[in-house]
């Protein structure tokens, strides 16, 4: 094994890691917003919107991310929407993550004892007030470990964007391998990069959880 290669490939890996993180963090932010909105709609919105929630979370979680990605990158051209790899990957991952975040928020909202909601309702609080003042603070705190876990999943799924040539870690590695015919060092660096990323996210998640605990 040639240690100097690690140094040689480092800049490329650094850039690739940035792309991975860019995609993942956008998916995290977008997915959280989308998930929160979907859950809020389910909790406080009109009855007839509920099937929309179930359709979205059911379909988007029941199909592999690669399929979502292909539809986003190749499929949308059929209706006139052509996206570059970054745009397609981001769109697909935001929607994919959003479905999972919706379910995470739903689980946390529903684990707040019904008695609290009933008591608030009996005291005359509106649905919206109950949502924001009673449920949200507790549910959001509860959701942190689940969100951290889902973020790790999103980072791992981002590797699939390599298949549509988005220049994140995995694509960069396969490119280096095909250009230099060196196998071991690049793949080692690839595995270690993801491992480091996911371990860091775990750490951060635990720290946030501790900070929020009373």
């Amino acid at each position: 094994m040639d240690a100097s290669l690690f140094v040689k490939f480092l800049p490329a890996f650094g850039l690739a890691a940035l792309h991975t993180m860019e995609l993942s963090m956008l998916a995290l932010a977008g997915g959280l917003l989308l998930g929160f909105a979907m859950n809020a709609m389910r909790e406080t919105g009109p009855r007839w919107l509920k099937p929309v929630y179930w359709f979205y979370t059911g379909v988007w979680r029941g199909v592999p991310f690669l399929v979502h990605l292909f539809i986003s990158y190749f499929g949308l051209t059929a209706i006139g929407l052509t996206l570059d790899p970054f745009e397609a990957a981001t769109l697909a991952l935001v929607l994919y993550g959003g479905a999972y975040f919706s379910e995470i928020f739903r689980a946390c909202w529903q684990s707040i004892p019904v008695g609290q909601v009933e008591a608030a309702s009996a005291m005359g609080l509106s649905r919206r007030q109950i949502f924001t003042r009673i449920q949200a603070p507790q549910a959001l705190r509860m959701s942190v470990p689940l969100i951290a876990n889902q973020t790790i999943i999103l980072v791992k799924e981002s590797s699939i964007a390599s298949i549509i040539t988005y220049p994140e870690l995995t694509f960069t590695t396969t490119k280096i391998v095909s250009e230099t015919y060196v196998y071991i060092e690049p793949y080692l660096m690839l595995a270690l990069s993801y491992w480091l990323l996911t371990l860091t996210i775990s750490r951060v998640g635990r720290a946030v959880n501790r900070a929020l605990s009373p």
Partner: protein, 245 residues
């Protein structure tokens, strides 16, 4: 006009998609079984590792450490990366790995890490007091496992197991990159021929939905049957077909 054309096209290629789906199912089944076998093995050797106040033999320490590193690695890196490493790295040593086995092994090794932890969580579903009572009454370890731990662990882990099965099936799409003709690769090939990505990929998505939905429904039904309240009791009370001792 458009609709009849669509139907014709679909009847043309959907059968091929279903053939791909069969490959997907066989990949997934193999991977889940490998994952379960390996995962239980890993759990068995690392059961006591990491518990407080427990003295371990050097062998147990080594095994426990290995399992924790294994689990961390396989859960902390993407399946695609594991697959590429398994498929391409041996080429550096002039070993050619056939795609289908590489796919099952990679998926299986990956699932083993997750199933190990699922089962580990299930162990704590049985309170230590119960095990102590069983011990105190002289019940042999094999019966403690079979009649006291197993029924409760099964009930506790079943939802997570069904969930993992669904995840394995979805993850199988990724093996299309090493030329295994499962559902996704078949879809790609069809699109390369008819230039209708939206139509084909949505159909593909529907078939995946069918499969994951079926796993969920069958899994939930099977779970209810397996963990039916009276099972453990009736085995003790009416006696099993065979002998107990």
């Amino acid at each position: 006009m458009l609709a009849s054309g669509l139907l014709d096209r679909l009847t043309g290629y959907v059968p091929f998609l279903f053939q791909g789906a069969l490959v997907t199912l066989s990949l997934s089944t193999g991977a889940i079984l490998i994952g379960f076998a390996l995962g239980s093995l890993f759990l068995a050797v690392s059961e006591k590792y990491g518990q407080e106040g427990v003295r371990l033999t050097p062998m147990q320490n080594v095994a426990g450490f290995f399992v924790s590193v294994y689990v961390s690695f396989f859960r902390g890196t993407p399946l695609l990366v594991q697959l590429l490493m398994l498929f391409y790295l041996p080429a550096a040593f002039n070993i050619n790995v056939p795609p289908f086995p590489a796919a099952i092994v990679a998926m299986g090794l990956n699932s083993a890490a997750f199933q190990c932890e699922i089962l580990r969580a299930g162990l704590s579903a049985v309170s230590p007091g119960q095990l102590e009572a069983a011990d105190a009454f002289g019940i042999p370890k094999k019966f403690i496992f079979r009649f006291i731990q197993l029924p409760q662990i099964t009930r506790a882990v079943w939802p997570a197991v069904v969930s993992e099965a669904i995840d394995v099936l979805k993850s199988s799409a990724v093996v299309s990159v090493i030329a295994v003709t499962e559902l996704t690769r078949t879809g790609r090939q069809i699109v390369a021929g008819n230039y209708r990505p939206l139509e084909v990929y949505i159909s593909m998505g529907c078939i995946y939905l069918l499969m994951t939905g079926a796993i969920f429904l069958i899994g939930t039904w099977a779970g209810n049957r397996l963990t039916h309240r009276s099972n453990a009791s009736s085995q003790i009370v009416q006696g099993l077909p065979g002998r107990l001792s």
